[in-house]
Amino acid sequence: MNRQYIIRRILIAIPSLLGISVILFGVLAMAPGDPFEELATNPAIPPEVRMALRAKFGLDDPVWQRYLHWFSAMVQGDWGFSFQSRMDVDRLILQRLPVTLIVIGASQLLAISVAIPVGVLAAIKPYSIFDQIASTFAMIGFSLPTFFTGLVLILVFSIQLDWLPFVYRADINATGWAFYGEHIKQSIMPVVVLGLAQAGTLVRFMRSSVLDVIRLDYVTTARSKGIGERKVIVRHVVRNALIPVVTLIALQLPAVFGGAIVTEQIFRVPGIGSLLIAAILANDTPVVMGITFVISCLVVLFNLIADILYGWLDPRISFR
């Protein structure tokens, strides 16, 4: 059943990606600005140079023509050419993607590994002191924006205590343990900022989800059969309570990418988020298109993964 389902899902994704690309291209074309703006304000550069560059990169063509040009190239695997860095867009993105995936991946792992146990423990003994504390911190976690927590961490750990660096460097001049040590040290703050913001929401969600399940009859049945409390919670409660949480994690990923853009800017993490901001500010259309396309693909992909995980978590859900 699964293979057919996955193929169908991928086929459905194609028109939505196409629609996304049309809208994006239209919005970018309508937005004011000029990729060669900096040349315009520099008196040492004659206007002819700017005109020649615009013609060279096809910026003077009508919007639909530019879109068709971009689309036909994209279909053939050519992602375009960055106006700003005169480099292929796919190379530019590939340079940045690993860092983003590592940072976002690590922050998601942190969020999940903190949120699930805390949420479950809070739900088992609702309104206990532990639950109160957990709820308070969860509230703080998802109320504070990342640009605020990021700055606070920088002020405390970099400026006051001088423990951690706040500028992320992708190239580290070291080998072996020192290399990993440096990487971990510089990743701590961005990962914590992103992870804790995520964990806040997840804790609340996990807690209510477990509370819903724990009162159901089959849990009472399981207990009355004499299965140990630990086993009841892990095998019967948590597994069922996870279903809505998995949806949340998958659906929140685009938001995480959004949050990561801000965090990447604060800590100068050279991921696709900071590339996207720089490209938008410079009106570098091919790069903006490339990155948003990658993010759309990731969103579609994670939605698919969520659907497949349902099947594993709850065999009653079938795919047709």
Partner: protein
Amino acid sequence: MNERELRRLIGEVKVGKLSRRSFAQRMLAVGLTAPMATQLLAVAGVAHAQPKSTYKPTKRGGGGLLKVLWWQGATLLNPHFAVGTKDQDGSRFFYEPLAGWDADGNLQPVLAASIPGREDGTLAADGKSVTWKLKQGVTWHDGKPFTADDVVFNWEYAKDPATAATTSAVYTDVKVEKVDQYTVKVLFEKPTPFWALAFVGAQGMIIPKHLFADYSGGKSRDAPTNLKPVGTGAYKFKDFKPGDMVSGELNPNYHMENRPYFDAFEMKGGGDAVSAARAVLQSGEFDFAWNMQVEDEILQRMEKGGKGRVAISPGGNIEHIQLNTTDPWTEVDGERSSLKTKHPTLSDPAVRQALAVLVDKDSVEKHIYGRTGNATANFVNNPERFRSKNTKFEFNVDKANDILEKAGWKKGSDGIREKDGKKLKFVYQTSINQPRQKTQAIVKQACQKAGIDIEIKSVTASVFFSSDVANPDTYTKFYCDLQMYTTTMTQPDPELFMKQFMTEEAATKENKWQGRNITRWRNKEYDDIHKAAQVEVDPVKRAAMFIKLNDMVINDQVVIPVVARPAVQAMGNKLVAVMSGWDNNTWDIQNWYKDA
């Protein structure tokens, strides 16, 4: 200062009665740039100052890693494609020009064996050619020798319109000839007193012929070396991630003794100016940060940490208010601010004079810019201590009231002055940027007291500074009465800079608003003097002409200068790096070191 006086001063420098430095200072006082002053001496036959080296390290390398921070990272590393200073600064680690400009406007040889001069005939007496002797024994990072062929190639490469090089303006009007393996001759069509433009400074970096020869013109964007520079510089290329990181390592075959000091460097990009300042001044993670566009108050607070200092280098950039000479509110042939119109109220000299005394420059400096913007009366600007004495500025509301009253502008019942049914109401626009909005408020308040009504308008920077023909809010369209922004002086010579007041440069619909004369001020006398200056053989006469041009613009209130904006950088306490307002931030990178 007249011509005869200039000649007398130059004569004094020649016989050693007056030092070069005090000569430059006197020139600065009359509104001449330092490079211009030293060029004057060179053309008049006074030798260039010999560089005084303050470089201390006695061996190459051993300095560890140099970490520098540009909050806008370099996006490309071919100096001929450089879009902004960030790209030029990044390229300069690997590529070098024949000579660079130091802070006093003197030429310092880099790839040249010596600076051309009158004495040895390398600077032609008729001002139509310059001969550069190249340093011998210099090699590219891949081991190939650097010769005159490389220099000539750069000229061919940059002047080709198909290359669309941003340096093309420097190379299109000159001719370059190879004399021998280590000598090149730059020929000018007409006598050129300011001869040091090609192969000099930020736009003069030289790329290797053997790697770019196959990628000239239309194929220029495919050159693999665009992204992996091979130069003659103190550092060899290691890695490049556009917008994020440029890194390099010591060049063991560098052509200057005992240099460079650092074993490797990392130029990190991204983020914002405030946190960049913090990384240098507060946490000390980085040794240097570029372009501190941060309020001076915040910089001062950060400096108290004691880990770094702010370095300020004077340049020619000027924040100024432009007064529209055309009528922005009447449309003629599909354009507003058309040359066929005249501004209904600003065309009255009394109104312009009144506005000039209503800009409280001292308060703007004191309360907004601090060390990062100095109140000035001049358009052509220099270090604060050398400010021109020909012109002066004042803030005087009473005087403004007086001028307007005498000219017949009477206050109406609403407190706004009017004459012949025309009210003194102006729209004053600028880009969205906190210091600019604060300046607007200061001007508005003063104008109110003088019976002038100012409507403040602020436009997003990406719209204001764009060249979008369809948008009415760009600065080049100037569809309002007053506007304010910083104009940059990229070359250490006023010729190009002062071109922005010439009639032929007026921004119009016809030239898609690409003309650089935004105020659309037209003055035949100005045009004639500027044109004469372009071909003036005698550098002393030429200098006097530019002084006159500056004074004309100021005295006619074409623009009201507000503050001169020096370059502001943050440096770690131990770093020794010489900055210059006339060249790249990294123009002297080979001599950077850390004091023990």
